[in-house]
Symmetry: C2
Subunit: 205 residues, 2 copies
DNA sequence: GTCTATAATCAGATAGAC
DNA sequence: GTCTATCTGATTATAGAC
């Protein structure tokens, strides 16, 4: 049955949506905490509070669960990017994005996927929502990178793609968790250190 | 039977050693190619050309296989470190080590382990050869880091431990493989890019 | 020590009732 | 859609002959 006039969403559809959101939040959390391989579908089901078979009614595979979490992160990122003031200098925009990314990671909300797993890779690539989000985010960051290079605030010798990857890599930088394990510094300090190494480099200035 | 006078190693022991070296080389290669989780013991046995049960006579578990590979890498690193000329400036020593590390990775010889797996972590920590190697390497690098900071060639604002982790992280930097996948640059160029972002940072100088 | 064969376990996915 | 119960395949590890 289609929704009634006024484009109202049926109660049933709302419940469905809410449940899937709950699932994705759990998946996101588990992916951040233990990674794709260590996360089990049983665990996801248990944390959501439903049976595993029910999970498979919503998502056809473990890979699709992870993909859904990545789509969510992409949407989240797009929202953040759109919130950055237009007049902010390009370099500062990039710094803010990296900072946001690392804070997400330290908060245990950044899902981490193995870059080698091929079945997962295939699922992600064939996921239009994910790919669109990824491309849009990359385009926007790419624009900022080129602008920053043009105005001489970012090293123009480096290919823009190398810079883009370097920024993305902060989302899975093991330095953050190692420093956190050491328990010698606050989260804010850790972010500042990595932000410094990322943009200023290790060399003295 | 003990070895005969002259401290000669028995033929049998030599064969054993050679076989274990072959195993570790295979493990090292597979760990570099697919990572610990994706590597199966069957695969290792097949690549070595022996039965799986024979493998387990040499190493008691999959974790111990990985640990043996890490011990090998540590030894390799120590040899490299010892080969660096004493009079080389500290900063340059560090740059050389990072370069060597990344070249090893691009050559498919740098094993990569998941940082979350707890059983693997336990095996590594209880492996004296590995821990000794790790500590010795860290001590040496730590000395160079502090020297470089003292003479003002590396940012003295950063904790030495953060710098050490940042250097170690180059051994599992996804930027290298992503750039390699793009096939737009030679390995030498890729190394130079990442070396530049690591020491000079993204900012223009 | 090496092998073949097999155990034991775990995890992704599904059947079928309600 | 949700559940319980089960299937299936992959993978670590071992038994036991030679």
């Amino acid at each position: 049955m289609k929704s009634s006039p006024g484009a109202k969403i049926s109660f049933k559809a709302q419940m469905l949506q809410a449940r899937e959101d709950a699932i994705i939040r759990v998946v996101n959390h588990l992916l951040a905490e233990k990674g794709f391989d260590a996360m089990t579908v049983d665990e996801v089901a248990a944390n959501v509070g439903i049976a595993k078979a029910s999970l498979y009614k919503h998502f056809p595979s473990k890979e699709d669960l992870a993909a859904a979490a990545m789509v969510r992160v992409m949407r989240h990122a797009q929202t953040y990017l759109e919130g950055i003031a237009e007049e902010t200098p390009s370099l500062e925009k990039l710094r803010q994005v990296v900072r946001w990314t690392m804070e997400l990671k330290l908060a245990g909300e950044m899902p981490s996927l193995p870059s080698q797993n091929s079945s997962l890779r295939a699922t992600l690539i064939s996921n239009q929502d994910y790919m669109n989000g990824l491309i849009e985010v990359s385009d926007r960051l790419g624009g900022w990178i080129e602008a920053a290079q043009a105005q001489g605030s970012i090293n123009p010798q480096l290919p823009a793609i190398a810079i883009l990857y370097t920024l993305y890599a902060r989302a899975c930088d093991p330095v953050l968790e190692f420093l956190k394990m050491g328990a010698q510094h606050t989260d804010a300090q850790i972010v500042d250190f990595v932000l410094s190494t990322c943009f200023d480099g290790l060399n003295a200035r």
